[in-house]
Symmetry: C3
Subunit: 204 residues, 3 copies
């Protein structure tokens, strides 16, 4: 099992936990509902990317390990529920690592389909955020990405940095690590200083 | 026309009626809205399964009979509306037959793509429940599967029974009938005794 | 650049503006949220049609001009926001041209996949309305097409007219122009006289 595969499974696990916690907060669903939303949250972004690219078979359809990782994550979330909801910092760290990794791996995958760099950046961002968007739609909320401190924008900037380094012929791991760090740095600064993008309409 | 095709069309018809009734209950849409939601409810689950598997062309795109069956179902629903809403039992029977059949046929179809059994079970369940999930999202509700008595879980168990019998080299019709009966039995018992899965979080 | 391509980009631009305005009205999202919803509104319908048909690569994945047109539209919307929200008539004109064009080009594209005419009509209508449906779901509203004066139905009728003229071996541009005009005429009449389809259920 390669390092990349392990990192991907970590991202999957985190998104499953985050999906389960958000689902539980809002509509008190049963065990099935929580597992279903955790599952959709973690595989949603990559599935949408792959269906838009026409990249078949989808990763989780090809690799059932992903399913078992999700189920294990949900069980663990249940066991440590009362502890997990107290440590908001741990979640911030996992979430940030998760979106950073999903963005860059998604951008890379899109590039393999020889799309324009603008499309690759969008596909990278979609990989990171679309699971959360579906989770919010299923729990009947306006998606959090439309309101949260600089979030999807951080993914987009990271993807663009990756594409620039890649165009400059930097080595793969240099591109990966530099752009991942950029996303993490933007998120940390945005949350610490509560930075948001300006509202679209400053009505007068 | 084979027996399987007829059964599939019956499932389609039921889901169209159920979609139309739910749509009408909630947001009083016009004729177009009701037909649209009935259509999406009946073809949604199979379409999502096929788009996840990359199985093109989708059944309803290939076979326009499905469209005519849906339109006929909506017209019939309209004519007998005031009678239909009184006989809740009839709906329960149709719905249960519908999800049982969709689950097992969906599981079979996924197996033809040589996926892992865990994936085949998920695809079977998706075939049965995803139409209803989209219907609920379009009518701006939290999907009913997250709250209802053991529903999606019954599909999942039926799919697993099918996969076990299939792995034991049982004859196709034995697998089909046994697993369909399991789903029906679980639903009947769940509704009769109002069984639900436990809530995910028992907050203290 | 062909006339058809220019018309398509105009349709894309209009849908982006309409998406941005609706998004802003409802939930006051930030710049990213507005751009995201504008993007989804304009590429959503065509993407769903292509994913249902299995027509890869999707137009916007192949042609990044679409992305730049969307971004430019959002910037222009922002600059002229206070003027744009006053001229409702301009929007009606653009929207009507947009859905007419998307319907007919979508129907044509589906026909190239040798589907049944009933399927081609549905695919044409989906091209025109599904972007708006996703926009409404993301902003947590019941899709406007279920309530608005004859809208999706106008698209459907236009698509059927196109298919009839096409079956009669009319020349391509005759089919295109006649059916586009039909959609525009229905919309103008429907809005002027506030025509709606009958409600599905006249409860007694």
């Amino acid at each position: 099992m390669s390092l990349q595969h392990i990192l991907e499974l970590c991202g999957i696990a985190f998104f499953a936990v985050s999906g389960a916690l958000v689902a539980n907060q809002k509509s008190k669903p049963d065990w099935f509902g929580v597992t279903f939303i955790g599952f959709i949250t973690s595989i949603g972004g990559g599935s949408i990317r792959d269906m838009l690219l026409g990249s078949y078979p989808l990763s989780w359809v090809k690799d059932p390990t992903i399913i078992y990782v999700i189920i294990a994550s949900i069980v663990i979330t249940s066991l440590f529920f009362n502890k997990l909801i107290r440590f908001k910092k741990i979640f911030f760290i996992f979430d940030t690592l998760g979106i950073a990794m999903f963005t860059i791996l998604g951008t890379e995958k899109a590039l393999n389909f020889h799309v324009d760099p603008a499309i690759a950046a969008i596909m990278g961002m979609f990989s990171a955020i679309m699971g959360g968007v579906i989770r919010d739609v299923l729990t009947n909320q306006v998606p959090v990405i439309f309101r949260k401190e600089i979030y999807a924008t951080a993914c987009l900037i990271g993807a663009i940095v990756y594409l620039i380094l890649n165009a400059l012929n930097c080595e793969r791991y240099t591109c990966l690590i530099a752009s991942t760090l950029i996303i993490i740095a933007i998120r940390v600064v945005a949350v610490k200083y509560q930075l948001s993008l300006p509202q679209f309409n400053r009505e007068k």
